[in-house]
Amino acid sequence: MSEHGHERRSDEIAAFLLGALEPGEAAELERHLAGCEECRTELEWLRPAVQLLPESVERVEAPPELRESLMTQVRAEAKTEAEAAAHAPRRERGLLRGWVLRPATGLAVLALVVAAVGAFAIAGGGSSGGKTTTTFTGHSPGVTAEMVSSGGSGTLHLANLHQLPSDKVLQAWVERDGRVVSAKTLFVPNQDGTASATIDDMEGVKTVMVTAEPRGGSVQPTSPPIVSVSIPQ
Protein backbone atom coordinates (compact mmCIF):
# COMPACT_ATOMS: atom_id res chain seq x y z
CA MET A 1 0.00 0.00 0.00
CA SER A 2 1.23 3.50 -0.78
CA GLU A 3 2.34 5.88 1.95
CA HIS A 4 -0.73 7.98 1.26
CA GLY A 5 -2.91 4.88 1.47
CA HIS A 6 -1.49 3.96 4.86
CA GLU A 7 -1.97 7.49 6.13
CA ARG A 8 -5.61 7.21 5.16
CA ARG A 9 -5.83 3.88 6.98
CA SER A 10 -4.16 5.46 10.01
CA ASP A 11 -6.84 8.12 10.07
CA GLU A 12 -9.49 5.45 9.86
CA ILE A 13 -7.88 3.41 12.63
CA ALA A 14 -8.08 6.38 14.97
CA ALA A 15 -11.73 6.97 14.09
CA PHE A 16 -12.40 3.26 14.43
CA LEU A 17 -10.94 3.13 17.93
CA LEU A 18 -13.05 6.12 18.92
CA GLY A 19 -16.16 4.40 17.60
CA ALA A 20 -16.62 7.16 15.04
CA LEU A 21 -16.69 5.17 11.80
CA GLU A 22 -19.99 4.35 10.17
CA PRO A 23 -20.82 0.62 10.43
CA GLY A 24 -19.95 -0.09 6.80
CA GLU A 25 -16.63 1.70 7.10
CA ALA A 26 -15.80 -0.15 10.30
CA ALA A 27 -16.55 -3.47 8.63
CA GLU A 28 -14.34 -2.58 5.68
CA LEU A 29 -11.49 -1.57 7.97
CA GLU A 30 -11.84 -4.79 9.96
CA ARG A 31 -11.50 -6.75 6.72
CA HIS A 32 -8.38 -4.77 5.89
CA LEU A 33 -6.94 -5.28 9.36
CA ALA A 34 -7.35 -9.02 9.02
CA GLY A 35 -4.79 -9.01 6.23
CA CYS A 36 -2.50 -6.12 7.16
CA GLU A 37 -0.08 -6.69 10.01
CA GLU A 38 1.25 -3.14 9.77
CA CYS A 39 -2.18 -1.68 10.40
CA ARG A 40 -2.89 -4.17 13.18
CA THR A 41 0.33 -3.12 14.87
CA GLU A 42 -0.68 0.50 14.61
CA LEU A 43 -4.14 -0.28 15.96
CA GLU A 44 -2.72 -2.06 19.00
CA TRP A 45 -0.20 0.71 19.62
CA LEU A 46 -2.88 3.38 19.51
CA ARG A 47 -5.54 1.44 21.44
CA PRO A 48 -4.34 2.35 24.97
CA ALA A 49 -4.79 6.04 24.18
CA VAL A 50 -8.51 5.40 23.77
CA GLN A 51 -8.81 2.83 26.55
CA LEU A 52 -7.44 5.33 29.03
CA LEU A 53 -9.76 8.18 28.05
CA PRO A 54 -12.34 7.19 30.70
CA GLU A 55 -9.66 7.59 33.35
CA SER A 56 -9.42 11.28 32.48
CA VAL A 57 -12.96 11.91 33.65
CA GLU A 58 -13.35 13.95 36.80
CA ARG A 59 -14.54 11.70 39.60
CA VAL A 60 -18.07 12.12 40.82
CA GLU A 61 -19.22 10.38 43.97
CA ALA A 62 -21.71 7.66 43.05
CA PRO A 63 -24.82 7.88 45.22
CA PRO A 64 -24.95 5.24 47.98
CA GLU A 65 -28.46 4.36 46.82
CA LEU A 66 -27.00 3.06 43.59
CA ARG A 67 -24.81 0.56 45.42
CA GLU A 68 -27.69 -0.42 47.66
CA SER A 69 -30.08 -0.93 44.76
CA LEU A 70 -27.54 -2.85 42.75
CA MET A 71 -26.58 -5.19 45.57
CA THR A 72 -30.20 -5.80 46.51
CA GLN A 73 -30.91 -6.95 42.97
CA VAL A 74 -27.73 -8.99 42.76
CA ARG A 75 -28.26 -10.75 46.07
CA ALA A 76 -31.87 -11.51 45.16
CA GLU A 77 -30.81 -13.04 41.85
CA ALA A 78 -28.03 -15.00 43.53
CA LYS A 79 -30.48 -16.34 46.08
CA THR A 80 -32.94 -17.36 43.38
CA GLU A 81 -30.24 -19.15 41.43
CA ALA A 82 -28.92 -20.89 44.53
CA GLU A 83 -32.40 -22.06 45.44
CA ALA A 84 -33.00 -23.26 41.90
CA ALA A 85 -29.75 -25.20 41.96
CA ALA A 86 -30.56 -26.70 45.36
CA HIS A 87 -33.93 -27.89 44.17
CA ALA A 88 -32.84 -29.05 40.73
CA PRO A 89 -33.12 -32.81 41.38
CA ARG A 90 -36.57 -32.45 42.90
CA ARG A 91 -37.69 -30.30 40.03
CA GLU A 92 -36.38 -32.79 37.55
CA ARG A 93 -38.62 -35.39 39.13
CA GLY A 94 -41.44 -32.91 39.01
CA LEU A 95 -40.84 -32.39 35.34
CA LEU A 96 -41.05 -36.08 34.68
CA ARG A 97 -44.26 -36.40 36.64
CA GLY A 98 -45.88 -33.36 35.26
CA TRP A 99 -44.93 -33.20 31.64
CA VAL A 100 -42.88 -36.03 30.32
CA LEU A 101 -44.68 -38.96 31.80
CA ARG A 102 -48.19 -37.67 31.67
CA PRO A 103 -49.93 -40.77 30.25
CA ALA A 104 -52.04 -39.23 27.59
CA THR A 105 -49.40 -37.02 26.12
CA GLY A 106 -46.09 -38.87 26.06
CA LEU A 107 -42.96 -37.32 24.62
CA ALA A 108 -44.85 -34.99 22.40
CA VAL A 109 -45.62 -32.70 25.30
CA LEU A 110 -41.92 -31.95 25.62
CA ALA A 111 -42.20 -29.68 22.67
CA LEU A 112 -43.06 -26.29 24.03
CA VAL A 113 -44.92 -24.64 21.25
CA VAL A 114 -43.14 -21.37 20.85
CA ALA A 115 -44.89 -18.86 18.73
CA ALA A 116 -44.54 -15.19 18.45
CA VAL A 117 -47.74 -13.29 18.54
CA GLY A 118 -48.97 -11.98 15.22
CA ALA A 119 -46.84 -12.57 12.19
CA PHE A 120 -44.06 -14.62 13.75
CA ALA A 121 -43.45 -17.82 11.90
CA ILE A 122 -41.57 -20.73 13.33
CA ALA A 123 -38.40 -21.24 11.34
CA GLY A 124 -36.86 -24.16 13.10
CA GLY A 125 -36.44 -25.91 16.40
CA GLY A 126 -36.08 -29.10 18.36
CA SER A 127 -36.27 -30.54 21.81
CA SER A 128 -33.97 -32.44 24.09
CA GLY A 129 -33.99 -33.21 27.76
CA GLY A 130 -36.84 -30.89 28.57
CA LYS A 131 -35.52 -28.06 26.43
CA THR A 132 -36.92 -26.75 23.23
CA THR A 133 -35.25 -24.21 21.03
CA THR A 134 -37.21 -22.45 18.38
CA THR A 135 -36.09 -19.67 16.10
CA PHE A 136 -38.51 -17.00 15.05
CA THR A 137 -38.77 -14.94 11.97
CA GLY A 138 -41.10 -12.03 11.67
CA HIS A 139 -41.17 -8.89 13.78
CA SER A 140 -38.09 -9.97 15.72
CA PRO A 141 -35.98 -11.77 13.12
CA GLY A 142 -33.35 -14.04 14.54
CA VAL A 143 -34.63 -13.95 18.12
CA THR A 144 -34.26 -17.36 19.68
CA ALA A 145 -36.21 -18.59 22.68
CA GLU A 146 -35.30 -21.60 24.76
CA MET A 147 -37.72 -22.56 27.50
CA VAL A 148 -36.22 -24.74 30.20
CA SER A 149 -39.10 -26.01 32.26
CA SER A 150 -39.15 -27.96 35.43
CA GLY A 151 -41.99 -29.02 37.68
CA GLY A 152 -42.92 -25.84 39.44
CA SER A 153 -40.89 -23.24 37.60
CA GLY A 154 -39.32 -22.39 34.29
CA THR A 155 -36.61 -20.28 32.75
CA LEU A 156 -36.96 -18.56 29.42
CA HIS A 157 -33.65 -17.98 27.66
CA LEU A 158 -33.69 -15.46 24.83
CA ALA A 159 -30.95 -14.69 22.34
CA ASN A 160 -30.30 -12.23 19.52
CA LEU A 161 -32.25 -9.49 21.22
CA HIS A 162 -31.70 -5.87 20.35
CA GLN A 163 -30.41 -3.63 23.11
CA LEU A 164 -33.09 -1.59 24.81
CA PRO A 165 -33.12 2.14 25.45
CA SER A 166 -31.97 2.76 29.00
CA ASP A 167 -35.47 3.72 30.06
CA LYS A 168 -36.85 0.33 29.06
CA VAL A 169 -36.67 -3.14 30.55
CA LEU A 170 -38.03 -6.51 29.51
CA GLN A 171 -40.90 -7.82 31.58
CA ALA A 172 -42.17 -11.39 31.71
CA TRP A 173 -45.88 -12.15 31.84
CA VAL A 174 -47.88 -15.31 32.29
CA GLU A 175 -51.35 -16.14 31.11
CA ARG A 176 -53.29 -18.21 33.60
CA ASP A 177 -57.05 -18.83 33.65
CA GLY A 178 -57.50 -16.36 30.83
CA ARG A 179 -55.76 -13.53 32.71
CA VAL A 180 -52.38 -12.04 31.89
CA VAL A 181 -50.41 -11.09 34.98
CA SER A 182 -46.86 -10.03 35.62
CA ALA A 183 -44.43 -12.82 36.45
CA LYS A 184 -42.65 -10.23 38.60
CA THR A 185 -39.55 -10.65 36.48
CA LEU A 186 -37.80 -7.60 35.03
CA PHE A 187 -34.60 -8.04 33.07
CA VAL A 188 -32.47 -6.52 30.34
CA PRO A 189 -30.53 -8.07 27.45
CA ASN A 190 -26.88 -8.76 28.09
CA GLN A 191 -24.25 -7.16 25.89
CA ASP A 192 -24.36 -10.16 23.59
CA GLY A 193 -28.13 -9.97 23.13
CA THR A 194 -28.99 -12.83 25.45
CA ALA A 195 -31.37 -12.62 28.40
CA SER A 196 -33.02 -14.98 30.84
CA ALA A 197 -36.21 -14.77 32.84
CA THR A 198 -37.16 -17.10 35.63
CA ILE A 199 -40.84 -17.87 36.08
CA ASP A 200 -41.18 -19.03 39.67
CA ASP A 201 -44.66 -20.44 39.45
CA MET A 202 -45.63 -22.24 36.27
CA GLU A 203 -48.69 -23.89 37.76
CA GLY A 204 -51.59 -23.48 35.35
CA VAL A 205 -49.63 -21.20 33.04
CA LYS A 206 -50.75 -21.45 29.44
CA THR A 207 -48.55 -18.77 27.90
CA VAL A 208 -45.35 -16.95 28.84
CA MET A 209 -44.78 -13.60 27.18
CA VAL A 210 -42.09 -10.94 27.20
CA THR A 211 -42.68 -7.28 26.45
CA ALA A 212 -40.59 -4.13 26.59
CA GLU A 213 -41.80 -1.89 29.39
CA PRO A 214 -40.73 1.32 31.13
CA ARG A 215 -38.13 0.93 33.88
CA GLY A 216 -39.77 -0.36 37.00
CA GLY A 217 -42.19 -2.46 34.99
CA SER A 218 -45.88 -2.13 34.28
CA VAL A 219 -49.05 -3.45 35.85
CA GLN A 220 -50.27 -4.57 32.44
CA PRO A 221 -48.38 -5.03 29.14
CA THR A 222 -48.04 -1.74 27.29
CA SER A 223 -46.38 -3.05 24.12
CA PRO A 224 -46.78 -6.04 21.81
CA PRO A 225 -45.00 -9.20 22.98
CA ILE A 226 -41.49 -9.76 21.70
CA VAL A 227 -42.10 -13.46 22.16
CA SER A 228 -45.02 -15.54 23.35
CA VAL A 229 -44.52 -19.13 24.42
CA SER A 230 -47.50 -21.47 24.62
CA ILE A 231 -47.10 -24.07 27.34
CA PRO A 232 -48.70 -27.46 26.64
CA GLN A 233 -51.16 -28.48 29.34
Binding site: S10, D11, E12, I13, A14, A15, L17, L18, G19, A20, L21, E22, W45, L46, P48, A49, V50, Q51, L52, L53, P54, E55, S56, V57, E58, R59, V60, E61, A62, P63, E65, L66, R67, S69, L70, M71, Q73, V74, R75, E77, A78, E81, A82, Q163, P165, S166, D167, V188, N190, Q191, D192, T194, S196, R215
Partner: protein, 191 residues
Protein backbone atom coordinates in the same frame (compact mmCIF):
# COMPACT_ATOMS: atom_id res chain seq x y z
CA UNK B 1 -16.86 -16.60 50.13
CA UNK B 2 -16.55 -13.76 52.56
CA UNK B 3 -16.10 -10.28 51.15
CA UNK B 4 -12.82 -9.89 53.02
CA UNK B 5 -11.39 -12.82 51.08
CA UNK B 6 -12.69 -11.50 47.78
CA UNK B 7 -11.04 -8.17 48.49
CA UNK B 8 -7.66 -9.83 48.24
CA UNK B 9 -8.32 -11.12 44.75
CA UNK B 10 -7.34 -9.43 41.51
CA UNK B 11 -10.10 -8.37 39.15
CA UNK B 12 -9.24 -11.23 36.82
CA UNK B 13 -9.71 -13.65 39.72
CA UNK B 14 -13.02 -12.08 40.69
CA UNK B 15 -14.58 -12.54 37.27
CA UNK B 16 -14.95 -16.34 37.41
CA UNK B 17 -16.55 -15.95 40.84
CA UNK B 18 -18.96 -13.38 39.48
CA UNK B 19 -19.69 -15.82 36.67
CA UNK B 20 -20.64 -18.31 39.39
CA UNK B 21 -23.03 -15.71 40.83
CA UNK B 22 -21.02 -14.90 43.92
CA UNK B 23 -22.48 -11.62 45.25
CA UNK B 24 -19.53 -10.95 47.57
CA UNK B 25 -17.14 -11.02 44.62
CA UNK B 26 -19.45 -8.71 42.72
CA UNK B 27 -19.67 -6.32 45.64
CA UNK B 28 -15.89 -6.05 45.77
CA UNK B 29 -15.83 -5.50 42.02
CA UNK B 30 -18.38 -2.70 42.30
CA UNK B 31 -16.55 -1.07 45.19
CA UNK B 32 -13.39 -1.00 43.10
CA UNK B 33 -14.84 0.32 39.89
CA UNK B 34 -18.30 1.71 40.60
CA UNK B 35 -16.92 5.19 41.14
CA UNK B 36 -15.15 5.53 37.81
CA UNK B 37 -18.06 3.82 36.06
CA UNK B 38 -20.56 6.31 37.47
CA UNK B 39 -18.20 9.19 36.70
CA UNK B 40 -17.86 8.07 33.09
CA UNK B 41 -21.60 7.61 32.74
CA UNK B 42 -22.21 11.06 34.20
CA UNK B 43 -19.55 12.58 31.94
CA UNK B 44 -21.38 11.19 28.91
CA UNK B 45 -25.06 11.56 29.77
CA UNK B 46 -24.76 14.69 31.90
CA UNK B 47 -27.61 13.79 34.27
CA UNK B 48 -27.25 12.13 37.64
CA UNK B 49 -30.42 10.04 37.35
CA UNK B 50 -29.52 8.81 33.90
CA UNK B 51 -25.95 8.13 35.02
CA UNK B 52 -27.31 5.96 37.84
CA UNK B 53 -29.50 4.04 35.39
CA UNK B 54 -26.64 3.54 32.95
CA UNK B 55 -24.27 2.39 35.69
CA UNK B 56 -26.81 0.03 37.19
CA UNK B 57 -27.63 -1.50 33.83
CA UNK B 58 -23.96 -1.92 32.98
CA UNK B 59 -23.14 -3.65 36.26
CA UNK B 60 -26.21 -5.88 36.09
CA UNK B 61 -25.11 -6.83 32.59
CA UNK B 62 -21.68 -7.72 33.99
CA UNK B 63 -23.27 -9.66 36.85
CA UNK B 64 -25.24 -11.70 34.37
CA UNK B 65 -22.43 -12.17 31.88
CA UNK B 66 -19.26 -12.01 33.98
CA UNK B 67 -18.13 -15.36 32.75
CA UNK B 68 -17.79 -13.92 29.25
CA UNK B 69 -14.93 -11.61 30.15
CA UNK B 70 -12.02 -12.34 27.82
CA UNK B 71 -8.65 -11.48 29.32
CA UNK B 72 -7.12 -11.38 25.84
CA UNK B 73 -9.08 -8.24 25.08
CA UNK B 74 -7.70 -6.10 27.88
CA UNK B 75 -8.07 -5.54 31.58
CA UNK B 76 -11.31 -6.10 33.44
CA UNK B 77 -11.50 -2.40 34.17
CA UNK B 78 -11.13 -1.52 30.48
CA UNK B 79 -13.77 -4.09 29.56
CA UNK B 80 -16.14 -2.75 32.21
CA UNK B 81 -15.63 0.86 31.16
CA UNK B 82 -16.30 -0.10 27.56
CA UNK B 83 -19.65 -1.54 28.61
CA UNK B 84 -20.50 1.60 30.57
CA UNK B 85 -19.51 3.81 27.67
CA UNK B 86 -21.62 1.82 25.21
CA UNK B 87 -24.64 1.92 27.53
CA UNK B 88 -24.24 5.64 28.01
CA UNK B 89 -23.92 6.30 24.29
CA UNK B 90 -26.99 4.13 23.68
CA UNK B 91 -28.82 6.30 26.18
CA UNK B 92 -27.78 9.45 24.33
CA UNK B 93 -28.82 8.01 21.01
CA UNK B 94 -32.19 6.97 22.40
CA UNK B 95 -32.93 10.55 23.34
CA UNK B 96 -34.33 12.86 20.72
CA UNK B 97 -32.29 16.01 20.37
CA UNK B 98 -29.46 14.68 22.48
CA UNK B 99 -27.03 17.22 23.84
CA UNK B 100 -23.77 15.64 24.97
CA UNK B 101 -21.56 17.44 27.41
CA UNK B 102 -18.46 18.61 25.64
CA UNK B 103 -16.34 20.25 28.28
CA UNK B 104 -13.77 18.53 30.45
CA UNK B 105 -13.86 21.18 33.17
CA UNK B 106 -17.41 20.96 34.36
CA UNK B 107 -17.97 23.30 37.30
CA UNK B 108 -20.92 21.21 38.38
CA UNK B 109 -18.63 18.33 39.23
CA UNK B 110 -17.54 19.18 42.72
CA UNK B 111 -17.88 15.99 44.68
CA UNK B 112 -14.48 14.45 44.42
CA UNK B 113 -13.59 11.47 46.49
CA UNK B 114 -11.31 12.31 49.39
CA UNK B 115 -7.65 11.79 48.68
CA UNK B 116 -7.20 9.92 51.94
CA UNK B 117 -7.49 6.16 52.23
CA UNK B 118 -6.37 5.46 48.68
CA UNK B 119 -5.03 2.01 48.05
CA UNK B 120 -1.87 1.64 46.01
CA UNK B 121 -3.87 0.65 42.93
CA UNK B 122 -6.20 3.58 43.38
CA UNK B 123 -3.27 5.93 43.75
CA UNK B 124 -1.80 4.50 40.55
CA UNK B 125 -5.08 5.05 38.76
CA UNK B 126 -5.18 8.62 40.00
CA UNK B 127 -1.72 9.09 38.62
CA UNK B 128 -2.78 7.60 35.29
CA UNK B 129 -5.84 9.83 35.25
CA UNK B 130 -3.65 12.87 35.81
CA UNK B 131 -1.38 11.79 32.97
CA UNK B 132 -4.29 11.32 30.58
CA UNK B 133 -5.83 14.63 31.58
CA UNK B 134 -2.45 16.27 31.14
CA UNK B 135 -2.05 14.74 27.69
CA UNK B 136 -5.52 15.92 26.71
CA UNK B 137 -4.82 19.41 28.00
CA UNK B 138 -1.73 19.56 25.83
CA UNK B 139 -3.68 18.84 22.67
CA UNK B 140 -4.65 21.63 20.31
CA UNK B 141 -8.30 22.43 20.96
CA UNK B 142 -9.43 21.23 17.55
CA UNK B 143 -7.95 17.78 18.16
CA UNK B 144 -9.30 17.51 21.71
CA UNK B 145 -12.74 18.51 20.50
CA UNK B 146 -13.10 15.80 17.84
CA UNK B 147 -11.89 13.19 20.32
CA UNK B 148 -14.38 14.36 22.94
CA UNK B 149 -17.24 14.48 20.44
CA UNK B 150 -16.51 10.96 19.26
CA UNK B 151 -15.69 9.22 22.52
CA UNK B 152 -17.85 11.05 25.04
CA UNK B 153 -20.55 12.22 22.65
CA UNK B 154 -20.87 9.11 20.52
CA UNK B 155 -20.89 11.09 17.29
CA UNK B 156 -19.64 9.60 14.04
CA UNK B 157 -16.92 11.37 12.08
CA UNK B 158 -19.46 12.46 9.48
CA UNK B 159 -21.69 13.95 12.18
CA UNK B 160 -18.71 15.76 13.65
CA UNK B 161 -17.70 17.06 10.23
CA UNK B 162 -21.20 18.46 9.82
CA UNK B 163 -21.19 20.04 13.26
CA UNK B 164 -17.81 21.67 12.83
CA UNK B 165 -18.17 22.48 9.15
CA UNK B 166 -14.93 20.79 8.15
CA UNK B 167 -14.20 17.98 5.66
CA UNK B 168 -14.42 14.36 6.79
CA UNK B 169 -10.74 13.83 6.17
CA UNK B 170 -9.90 16.74 8.44
CA UNK B 171 -11.92 15.24 11.29
CA UNK B 172 -10.27 11.85 10.95
CA UNK B 173 -6.85 13.43 10.64
CA UNK B 174 -7.40 15.42 13.83
CA UNK B 175 -8.49 12.28 15.61
CA UNK B 176 -5.34 10.47 14.55
CA UNK B 177 -3.01 13.31 15.44
CA UNK B 178 -4.69 13.75 18.81
CA UNK B 179 -4.58 10.08 19.72
CA UNK B 180 -0.98 9.77 18.57
CA UNK B 181 0.00 12.64 20.82
CA UNK B 182 -1.84 11.15 23.79
CA UNK B 183 -0.24 7.80 23.09
CA UNK B 184 3.14 9.43 22.82
CA UNK B 185 2.69 11.22 26.13
CA UNK B 186 1.69 7.99 27.79
CA UNK B 187 4.20 5.80 26.01
CA UNK B 188 6.65 5.69 28.87
CA UNK B 189 4.10 4.35 31.28
CA UNK B 190 2.52 1.92 28.86
CA UNK B 191 5.49 0.15 27.36
Amino acid sequence: MRASKAERLADEELMPLIGEKNPDAFEVFYDRHGGVAYSLAYRIVGERGAAEDVTQEAFISIWRSGARYDAARGSVRTWMLGIVRNRAIDFLRSKAGRAPKLDFDDDSILEHRPAAELTDSEALRRETAEEVRGALDELPGEQAKVIQLAYFGGFSHSEIAGMLGVPLGTVKGRMRLGLEKIRGELAEGLT
